[in-house]
């Protein structure tokens, strides 16, 4: 039985689970199952199951189970996936449940990533769109064929609605469940006609999120909640400096803590393993480790930024060159220059990283809010000394990620497996639990960057030259994705800058990639988390120098890019940019960005009090993400992206002093709280184009929109992030 990890809310359900035995165990090993409105979460698959493809299972009990290849980490992927399948299937939404897919690149690769299974780059809807429409439509075709055969009527006379096939001429009907076993015996059609988008009912409608009821009752299953009998909890003492290693350790005091079972050294540090979190925490507090910091990063972040400023004066590698920007700027009637400094940022998802591992000589089972299933599978296999197919991954709800769990090194998974291995790979379930301090100190930050920009305007105030130098670490270098670095350009360092949308005759974007001992990673909206700020804050400075309205100035440079122009116009219009002046002490700023093929424009309104304290009152957001699959979720992701981005530009910074991270917890690493959240209005551009993602793009414009609003209110530009830094200076 593998049911024990399920935190069942009632003993009745637990009894039920045990009584159904092996079938349930099989279902549960597939992954966590969401229970829909009826919370039939852990029911066994019924005998006559119709499994037309890897994404769908229809039971004779009329249950429709959609298998999600993407993790649900808040972005609404489970609901979006279910919506696409259910739309083409004409399923009854109240009978839909979602189950996480096992790690299997053959069936569940992210088509945007190629051959690996994972979630990121706001790609879940974009890459699933045609795949899941087809999966739903083919299943529907087979159910229709089964009904036609049963009733001896032409398929053309049949219709479907809400999980039922109808034959109007004879007033017959059959539920999908009643046709499941007959449909299962039929061949899968090679082609199928998809719905005309004008007939969509769920897509673009109001399908409620599948995970919201459980998440509103405290019953949603996170990795933190996994509990097996005999499970041990491990806390890992990691080095205080990045790159330091264990010289020696004294476990005697740790082992004396009641409940501590063992102390083991692993490649990442020294793990204290106990019967529960509290004992493990006390044990780790008592552990004495001597570190070898010979190869550790010992610089301060301020010193690293000093170096970046010097590097920016040297030529970098070309990321985009059109015309001759230097010449255009030299010959310009007016020039503008500015630099922007971006700190390291932690992701700080609410659920500190955690993973449960059950490792034996032959098998490794992992439970985690897993974001890179097949990468984590192979890294776990390498660590355990097993083959990837001997490693199974159960993807649970993730308590946030913002990029942190999408990690090519699989750091927290590898730690958990290495601890289980050091303990003897004896099948004992081990839960590795990070604390918040571990998370804040743990690296894999959004890199620190320095941006230097110059622009030239001719006598008519037209932008003739644009030079942009970016200095910072590469996210992809030294990872399995290193092949994506082309000609010295890591696209994640320059996206949003190299592809600047504005029509400028001479453009020169350069990148200087630095190396430090601080491990870095993508952070929500990746490159655009800094490039959009630099581009949109600077274009505002350029517009001001040109003596033009910043909205009109942008708009005139976007005639060739109708989607970007349209979101800009929509946001400006809804915010009352041209016709609703603000009183003194308030300011309005605008910014627009494209990220992952989604276009977002935002207008921020701020109040600045006499002490210079900034309050963001309102953000008006326009978004074009192609076909809106779930409009309410698009609104939610824009709201959330705005809050996430705003917290970072207001407060977010990880700083190092002599190599040590200076922040420890949410007291030092401050994030947005409810009292700082502005009113947000979201306007979605109607579209029938293929859908793109919404999890990340909303983050990109908020920082520069707010910075530009601060300028409008105060005449002061923000060049160093976070904003809190200026107030201290």
């Amino acid at each position: 039985m593998t049911t024990d990890f399920i935190d069942t809310p009632s003993s009745a359900r637990r009894g039920f689970l045990k009584s159904v035995g092996a079938t349930t165990a099989m279902a549960l090993t597939i992954g966590f199952v969401w229970g829909g409105t009826t919370r039939r979460a852990f029911a066994a698959p019924v005998a006559d199951t119709f499994t037309p493809n890897a994404f769908l299972r229809i039971g004779s009990d009329n249950s429709v189970t959609v298998i999600a290849k993407h993790v649900e980490l808040g972005q609404g992927a489970y609901t979006g996936i279910a919506t696409i399948v259910a739309e083409e299937l004409d399923a009854d939404w109240t009978r839909i449940r979602v189950e996480s897919a096992p790690a299997d690149a053959k069936r569940y690769a992210n088509l945007a990533f190629g051959t690996l299974q994972g979630t990121g780059g706001s790609s879940a809807m974009a890459n699933s769109w045609m795949q899941l429409r087809e999966a739903g439509a083919k299943a529907r075709a087979m159910l229709l064929a089964a009904a036609a055969k049963k009733w001896q009527v032409p398929v053309s006379e049949l219709t479907t609605e809400n999980g039922t096939v109808y034959h109007a001429p004879t007033k017959r009907r059959a539920t999908f469940g009643s046709l499941a076993s007959a449909a299962a015996a039929l061949p899968v059609p090679s082609t199928v006609t998809l719905k005309d988008p004008k007939d969509f009912k769920l897509i673009g409608g109001h399908a409620p999120r599948v995970d919201v009821p459980a998440k509103s009752h405290g019953t949603a299953q996170f990795t933190l909640d996994v509990a097996f009998p005999g499970m041990l909890v491990a806390l890992l003492q990691r080095p205080p400096l990045f790159g330091a290693t264990v010289k020696s350790y004294d476990a005697s005091a740790a082992k004396a803590v009641p409940g501590v079972v063992n102390v083991v050294q692993v490649p990442g540090g020294v793990a204290v393993v106990a019967k529960g979190f509290w004992a493990a925490k006390q044990g780790r507090d008592a552990l004495k480790v001597e570190w070898d910091d010979t190869h550790a990063e010992k610089r301060s972040s301020a010193a690293i930024m000093d170096e970046y400023r010097r590097v920016a004066e040297q030529p970098g590698r070309p990321a985009r060159v059109e015309g001759d920007a230097s010449k255009a700027i030299q010959g310009a009637a007016r020039t503008v220059s500015a630099s922007y400094e971006f700190p390291y940022l932690a992701h700080a998802p609410m659920e500190p990283l955690d993973a449960v591992v059950k490792l034996s000589a032959e098998r490794c089972e992992i439970w985690a809010g897993d974001q890179f299933q097949t990468i984590d599978q192979s890294n776990a296999a390498r660590t355990a000394g097993l083959k990837p197919e001997q490693v199974s991954i159960h993807t649970l709800y993730a308590g946030g990620s913002f990029g942190r769990r999408a990690n090519a090194r699989s750091d927290y998974i590898v730690e958990a497996v290495s601890i289980a291995k050091a303990l003897g790979a004896n099948g004992t379930p081990i839960k590795l639990q990070w604390t918040r301090e571990d998370d804040i100190h743990g690296g894999l930050y959004r890199p620190m960057y320095f941006h230097k920009l110059e622009a030239g305007l001719n006598a008519q105030g037209q932008l003739t030259g644009w030079k942009h130098v970016i200095v910072g670490q590469s996210i992809l270098a030294d990872t399995p994705f290193t092949a994506m670095v082309k000609d010295g350009i890591d696209s994640t360092s320059v996206e949003g800058a190299a592809n600047i949308a504005y029509a400028i005759p001479n453009i020169d974007v350069q990148l200087s990639t630095t190396r430090t001992g601080v491990p870095v990673l993508w952070w929500r909206v990746v490159g655009s988390s800094h490039t959009a700020f630099a581009v949109e804050a600077f274009i505002d400075e350029v517009a001001h120098t040109a003596g033009q309205d910043p909205y009109t100035f942008r708009r005139n440079l976007l005639a060739h890019n109708p989607r970007m122009k349209a979101v800009l116009e929509l946001a400006a219009d809804k915010a009352g940019w041209t016709n609703t002046p603000l009183p003194p002490g308030k300011g309005r700023g605008i910014a627009v960005a494209e990220a992952f093929k989604t276009y977002v424009a935002q207008v921020a309104e701020v109040s600045v009090d006499k002490d210079g304290k900034v309050k963001v009152d309102r953000v008006v957001c326009a978004v074009d993400c192609g076909t809106p699959i779930n409009p309410d979720n698009i609104v939610a992701q824009m709201e959330g992206g705005i809050g996430f981005g705003l917290g970072a530009v207001l407060h977010g910074a990880i700083t190092l002093k002599d190599g040590r991270v200076e922040q420890n917890n949410f007291d030092g690493y401050q994030v947005l709280r409810i009292d700082e959240m502005p009113k947000v209005e979201v306007h979605i551009v109607p579209s029938t184009l293929a859908p793109t993602g919404v999890g990340e793009p909303g983050v990109a414009p908020v920082g520069p929109a707010v910075a530009n609003a601060i300028f409008a209110a105060t005449g002061k530009r923000v060049h160093v992030l976070p904003f809190a830094t200026q107030n201290e200076a």
Partner: protein, 153 residues
């Protein structure tokens, strides 16, 4: 060492270190997993429970401090305001990742139990201790107002 208290209306005795934070006693000893670990130092509110009807951070409350007292976790919510809050959370589709939401709901419920018609400033004061990294804050605010309206109605 054992500590006796009333957990979700039921007399309960937990055999655990009296210094163990209530959070871990509730989760790992009592087996109730709705209350979450977020920071361990009363910074984020993910661990919020009610002690005698007041919202407290269970991650910094030793088990010994609740001896003989009433503790309510999200599993034990019964009051009219609590049900209104949870219904509003679902109606307004508040959660995203959902990890902080037990704590948010416990804080919101305690607020409405003491102040059935909170202003935005009251909501800020009661809810600023609860971090949501998904920034579901606009919906949290709207849901609290909606719950207040539904209780009045």
């Amino acid at each position: 060492m054992s500590t006796s208290f009333v957990l979700n209306g039921k007399p309960t005795t937990l055999d655990a270190d009296p210094n163990m934070p209530l959070l871990w006693a509730v989760r790992e000893v009592a087996g109730l997993h709705g209350t979450k670990f977020g920071c361990g130092m009363a910074q984020c509110g993910a661990c919020t429970v009610h002690l005698e009807g007041q919202a407290i951070r269970s991650c910094v409350t030793p088990l010994s401090a609740v001896a003989g007292r009433h503790v309510t976790t999200i599993e034990g919510l019964q009051s009219k305001p609590a049900k209104a809050v949870q219904a509003a959370w679902i109606k307004l589709q508040v959660p995203q990742c959902g990890y902080c939401q037990s704590g948010q709901i416990m804080s919101a419920t305690a607020l409405l139990e003491h102040n059935p018609t909170p202003s935005d400033a009251d909501i800020n004061a009661a809810m600023s201790g609860n971090i949501c990294r998904c920034a579901t804050y606009p919906r949290i605010r709207a849901a609290i107002h909606a719950a207040a309206d539904s209780i009045k109605g």
